[in-house]
């Protein structure tokens, strides 16, 4: 009997050890990767010739080391993009890097180095610096898979957009292309279409605010339009901070009644002049008022019937 119990315990322990060991092996490749970059966008204003150094920080928020490949990718091409991109480097303490290794929770302060030649025409260059996790890490992880197991390796990248202006900025190149809203509304929220066109050769960063007044002249609403970059030769819709995915700046007020005036004040740059334009819209909660009148009519007819019955 004792021998049987001993054999049972031995088998149980052996199986348990094997099971937990295999589980540990499977968990070894289930590490998460986490990266942080700041700031989110770099805006560079330069007059050629210039040797630019733009600081930024990258951080490994994960608990495993990461190896990052650095890629430069233009997101709008023009005649000078390639010339300038050839001079772009990411430097760590002045030493150019094409890849980067970060330990767990390690933060690195880096510089984006750009050489702007003297003969470069006044134009803009837009590109992203992408930090992409290396395939080497995923290959190492896949070696721990069971034989015959299929797999998907995952890489993540984080992009730092760079807007580079060479030459003097011209905030006058931006104008308010569209400011509109529906003329008649039954209820809020009110979507405003605000489109800024930039006909110049440099990006602009307009910001603004919409004030809404009711028919008594009281200011009843405000929609802030945060600073947004409008690239050269493009038109862009400005959105409110709460609804950045919508193509509209939205006044979230739900109950509306009467005549309203919305006035937009917009500055094409932080030091530029202020442009204003006003539009009007009417709000009338038809459904609500229809129900209200139906209720009143029913109530009146009931009162009249009761009065008639009482008088009979």
């Amino acid at each position: 009997m004792k021998n049987q119990i001993f054999s049972f315990l031995f088998i149980f322990l052996t199986v348990s050890v094997c099971f937990f060991t295999s589980v540990r092996i499977n968990q070894a490749y289930a590490d998460s990767i986490s990266l942080k970059i700041s700031p989110s966008v770099l805006q560079i204003h330069a007059t050629p010739p210039a040797a630019i150094k733009a600081p930024f920080t990258i951080e490994n928020l994960g608990s495993s080391p990461v190896h990052l490949t650095i890629i430069f990718k233009p997101f709008k091409q023009n005649s000078t993009t390639n010339t300038i991109l050839q001079t772009v480097q990411v430097a760590d303490n002045g030493i150019a890097q094409s890849s980067l290794s970060l330990g767990p929770q390690q933060q690195k302060k880096l510089d984006l180095s750009i050489i702007l030649p003297k003969n470069i025409p006044p134009t803009d260059t837009y590109f992203s610096v992408i930090f992409l996790t290396s395939q080497q890490d995923t290959n190492n992880a896949s070696s721990s898979l069971d034989e015959g197991s299929s797999s998907i390796a995952e890489r993540i990248g984080i992009a730092l957009p760079v807007l580079l202006t060479s030459g003097e900025s011209d905030p006058q190149s931006g104008f308010l292309d569209t400011f509109s809203s529906p003329i008649f509304l039954q209820a809020g929220p009110v979507p405003f279409t605000v489109r800024i066109s930039n006909t110049g050769t440099h990006f602009i960063s307009p910001r603004g605010v919409i004030f809404i007044k009711n028919m008594f002249g009281q200011t009843v609403g405000r929609v802030d339009l945060p600073e947004t970059n409008v690239l050269a030769g493009t038109t862009r819709s400005l959105t409110s901070l709460e609804q950045p995915l919508s193509d509209h700046a939205v006044w979230s007020e739900k109950f509306l009644l009467g005549f309203y005036t919305a006035t937009i004040s917009i500055a094409m740059s932080s030091s530029g002049s202020l442009y204003t334009r006003s539009i009007h819209f009417i709000a009338f909660p038809t459904t609500f008022l229809l129900i209200f009148f139906v209720v009143i009519i029913i109530a009146l007819s009931l009162i009249l019937r009761i009065k008639k019955k009482l008088s009979d």
Binding site: T47, A50, K53, S150, S205
Partner: protein, 224 residues
């Protein structure tokens, strides 16, 4: 009593209004001096024009300055991006038995962002044997369009996100076919927003057994 008070108040208001508007020039003289008053027009019910209130321009200090250049940002807060795993184990694939796996993408951004994705190639056993990207039950799903995929006899590899209808899937764009990155998620300002991406693989009875593999890349770009 009340009506009398209201009539009285109305008449008094009219008198006050007219007297204010019709104030005449006055003159005082004596042998030593003359004082002349010009007309004074006080409009009692005129609205006072007010200057539209605007925020003072936000001018954060530049990140760096040097000879002939300035580096600034209008998005000083950084953005972060995490993925729950770097390798998804699909196990041993068997015919008409769908394998579904989930991965989580977590982002933190104050300004909005988009996540683009692509695959290096379809799931490959060797250079020739592949599990093709799914075309879904009615053959209509692609890199751009999602469609329903519930039939276990529909084979292939695809992905699903919460932005799609239930049981709908799409193909990843394929770098080996020179297809460019496709936006799979867009969002506004978020604090630790988690988005799940669900992978699905189903193979046919004629599919060669073995360890299939590919690499899916996710790139986070802030709204600039």
């Amino acid at each position: 009593m009340m009506i009398r008070f209201l009539i009285g108040f109305f008449v008094f208001s009219l008198f006050l209004g007219f007297s204010a508007q019709l104030a005449q020039a006055a003159m005082m003289t004596n042998p030593h001096y003359t004082i002349e008053n010009q007309d004074i027009n006080i409009l009692p019910f005129q609205t006072i024009p007010t200057k539209t209130p605007t925020q003072p321009p936000f001018m954060p200090p530049p990140l760096a300055t040097g000879e002939n250049y300035t580096v600034e940002t209008n998005q000083p807060e950084g953005l972060s991006f995490s993925i729950s795993e770097e390798l998804i184990d699909l196990g041993k694939l068997t015919a008409t038995n769908p394998v579904i796996r989930k991965t989580s993408l977590t982002t933190k951004s104050a300004y909005g962002y988009r996540i683009e994705a692509t695959e290096d190639h379809p799931l490959l056993l060797d250079t020739k044997t592949a599990i093709p990207d799914t075309t879904c039950d009615n053959g209509s799903c692609s890199e751009l369009t999602d469609a329903l995929w519930t039939d276990t006899l529909t084979y292939g590899f695809g992905y699903h996100t919460s932005a799609m209808a239930d049981d709908s899937f799409k193909q990843f764009t394929d770098v080996s076919k020179n297809e460019s990155l496709q936006t799979i998620i867009q969002a506004g300002n978020t604090i630790n927003k988690q988005t799940d991406v669900t992978y699905k693989v189903t193979i046919s009875r004629t599919q060669q057994a073995g360890a299939y593999h590919n690499v899916v890349t996710y790139i986070l770009t802030p709204n600039y």
